[in-house]
């Protein structure tokens, strides 16, 4: 047998491409990897594609950013603008700003590329955010994906850092004001603040070093870290396999979908060009960051409508919401001749700190409360995890209140309301908004679960009214088909786990806290309809309509 196979003539491909591929494969042995990778199965759902949007936006950022580096000069040396934009002609400015204006007005395709870069940056962070919301609300962060959730969080922070360093580079008035706020926030940190600021800016703000330093961070360090994190992220996606929504035939041991090759490879390749196309249309038709309006940076003026890009907006909003004095209580102290200014320190660092701490820790918090250490590859529908969904919406609402506060002046002018009133309302919502959002979301989720249960047990309302011989009117309910019913009943519903003693027979204080949280999470859960209940409901389906009609008339 073996003698026979060695005697066979070596395989020779028929086409030229085949021979080249075979040449490469016989030397690097890529085909098993490719075969394995090409057979990876991905489930299909529109909400699974935001990570892809982020990845493609990042590729577009690399491409357009490389173009911009050819023409951008990060020098803060003074010059007089000699380009073709007359409203700034001969105005004294930095070389960085002058070269940004040249990219916009004197380099062919430069303004388009700048706008591609900036729109792609906004879309990059936005799609990252939506991707994380999807992962959170479907419970995709549970074991084994906790680490990947953290990597995703790091990517979000890095994306914000990349965005902010880029926003500051043109050295126009808007970006300089943004840097001034960052400088103020850094200086508000006790003890080390001033030293850190001087270290960062190479002396007193603004100095002549910061643009060059931010440039290195923006084009070297931060993108390299993002790329590293993306590689780790995708590597883990391959190891963990993709999650899937619940459905018939889907469980924690399989993945139902299409293989990467050829369906997904084609779809993903096409989708890249769709994302590129959408960004290109935005860049071609809509202005972004019109640096020529803002003028060169000068520490004295701040123009109306000065805001950061959207992803830093929530920090700016928190700063805007912070009162200087409340009922005579000041937030600024002088201790031993050093100023401690809490009205900058608190809003700038505390909300962002809380949001990111909770975000990073959430998988472990939920794991501790539920004692659930199993692997999950089937996602939760958000309504089937009411408390988690409510926590998520509460956090998102809190973020949105701060986000809205960053545009408080524009809300005031565009809706013809008082700026002060906008601020007062948002201050109230800063505290009340998350609570209201939590309660409303949880109730809505529970109500949807009850509706699902009702439909699973008694079928769908058809709208067909039938009159019975004795004169009563009833509505006919149509039973669901099995596939639809599976979606309504096939989910896990964790119940309250009471405190249990440890190996020494002691119920620890920590365990009591966990039990209390477990009760808070699951005490009002709606259990999915059991097979017995379904059986009972369908067993006397012929009375059922009458019974429910009677119950309704009794309860009213």
């Amino acid at each position: 047998m073996s003698a026979k196979s060695t005697a066979e003539a070596p395989f020779v491909a028929k086409t030229k491409v085949g021979r080249v591929t075979d040449f490469v494969d016989s030397r690097v042995g890529g085909s098993p990897i490719l075969r394995e990778f090409g057979r990876k199965v991905f489930p299909d759902h529109w909400s699974f594609m935001f990570g892809e949007v982020a990845l493609y936006s990042f590729i577009i950022l690399l491409l357009s950013g490389t173009f911009l580096t050819f023409f951008f000069d990060p020098s803060m040396a003074e010059t007089h603008y000699q380009g073709s934009y007359t409203p700034l002609y001969n105005v004294e400015m930095s070389v960085a700003y002058s070269s940004s204006l040249n990219i916009s007005f004197d380099i062919r395709g430069g303004l388009f590329m700048r706008q591609v870069h900036h729109w792609a940056a906004l879309l990059f962070v936005a799609s990252l955010g939506v991707h994380m919301l999807r992962v959170f609300f479907t419970g995709a962060f549970r074991r084994p994906r906790e680490m990947n959730w953290v990597v995703g969080g790091v990517l979000l922070i890095l994306a914000m850092a990349a965005g902010f360093t880029g926003y500051s580079l043109p050295d126009d008035l808007l970006s300089g004001n943004g840097l001034r706020i960052i400088d103020g926030v850094i200086k508000s940190i006790p003890v080390i603040g001033t030293y850190t600021s001087f270290f960062l800016f190479g002396g007193e703000f603004p100095g002549t070093a910061i643009i060059g330093r931010l440039y290195v961070l923006h084009i070297l360090l931060v993108p390299a870290l993002i790329l590293l994190m993306i590689v780790i992220h995708l590597f883990m996606v391959v190891i963990h396999k993709h999650t899937q929504y619940p459905g018939p035939g889907r469980n924690d041991g399989n993945v139902v979908g299409y293989p990467l090759g050829p369906v997904y490879a084609a779809k993903a390749g096409g989708f890249f060009f769709i994302v590129f196309g959408v960004i290109a249309i935005m860049a071609a038709a809509f202005t972004i960051n019109p640096i020529w309006n803002y003028g060169p940076y000068d520490p004295s003026p701040v123009s109306a409508g000065t805001q950061p890009d959207w992803y830093i907006g929530f920090v700016d909003g928190a700063l805007r919401l912070m009162p200087g004095v409340v009922n005579g209580f000041h937030f600024e102290y002088v201790i031993f001749g050093y100023t401690l200014t809490l009205n900058v320190l608190l809003p700038a660092l505390v909300p962002a700190g809380i949001i990111f701490t909770v975000l990073f820790m959430y998988p472990w918090i939920e794991r501790w409360i539920t004692k659930d250490d199993r692997e999950h590859h089937v996602l939760d529908r958000p309504r089937n995890a009411p408390t988690r969904t409510a926590i998520g919406v509460a956090g998102f609402t809190w973020y949105c209140v701060m986000w809205a506060a960053a545009g408080s002046d524009l809300i005031a002018t565009h809706f013809h309301v008082s700026l002060n009133d906008v601020t007062y309302w948002l201050r109230a919502l800063f505290f009340l908004g998350p609570v209201i959002a939590f309660v409303v979301t949880k109730r809505v989720a529970l109500a949807l679960q009850r509706k699902d249960r009702e439909i699973a047990l008694h079928g769908r309302e058809t709208g067909r009214i039938v009159r019975l011989p004795h004169g009563e009117f009833i509505e006919v309910h149509a039973p669901l088909d099995e596939y639809k019913r599976y979606k309504l009943v096939g989910f896990e519903s964790p119940s309250v786990l009471p405190a249990v003693p440890n190996e020494h027979g002691i119920v620890t204080r920590k365990e009591k806290r966990r039990a209390a949280l477990s009760k808070w999470f699951f005490e009002d859960r709606v259990a999915p309809a059991t097979p017995a209940e379904l059986e009972a409901a369908h067993g006397h389906a012929h009375h059922e309509a009458i019974e429910t009609a009677e119950q309704k008339s009794l309860s009213h």
Binding site: D44, W46, S47, F48, V53, T86, P87, Y89, V91, S104, F105, L111, Q115, H118, L122, L123, A126, S127, L173, L174, Y258, G270, F271, I274, V275, V278, M282, A284, A285, F286, T287, I288, N289, P290, W292, N293, Y294, G295, S300, P301, V302, S303, A304, G305, T306, Q307, D309, W310, G313, A406, G407, S408, D409, L410, A412, T413, V417, S418, N420, D421
Partner: protein, 262 residues
Amino acid sequence: MKALSQKRRHPLAAIALLLMGLLVTGGLYAVATTVNQAKAQTTDYSASDVEEGGKLFAANCATCHGMGASGTKDGPSLVGVGAAAVDFQVGTGRMPMQMNGPQAYEKPRQFNEEQTKQLSAYVASLGPGPSIPEEHLLDEKGNAAEGGELFRVNCAMCHNAAAAGGALTRGKFAPALADVSGKHIYEAMATGPQNMPVFNDTNISPEGKRDIITYLKQIEANGSPGGADLGAIGPVAEGLFVWVAGLGVIIAFTIWLTSRTS
């Protein structure tokens, strides 16, 4: 000199010195600020303009501003506000005011050119104040770059860097400046209507005002080089656009791409 030095310890010497100092300072200040002195404008207006204006004023303005424009609790005195103030407020429709509020809104004007001139003539006759700017200051042929710098330092904090307007406290606001005539921009700077500060001729010279108008008209004529300007109100509009339009279109595509299998 000897007489003077002998009297230097006189009890009234200190007071005399103080008086002299005040006189010199005041006198010098008066001389130095004549450039900014309001001039009663009578040259362009005939006596009949003033007379007709007086009648219009009594019928339309006196309810709030009082007979003789001396002011009531509902409206300030207009003695000394000058023709420029009247031309701006009436010419942009802000006066007569529709209702009391944080700020008078621009609206279709109630008086025609002739009547506005008559009202201006009447108010100008009451006391000296800023006059309507001369034509050569409104020719839009100043230095746009200089005007841009003046605009960014003096105006952009309320009116926005692209003159798209901005919010002030308690329902007040700085309006957008597109479609505002050069004359009205000049008059607004000279008289400080609503909540705007006065930029008098020592603060921003007439030439500077001409530059600012040149700049504003030039950026208005240039339009937005990068495509639709999304209101020129800065990153908030851009963020809203990427979330609503950008992500919206992308989501539509994702749904289309996955519609066959799910």
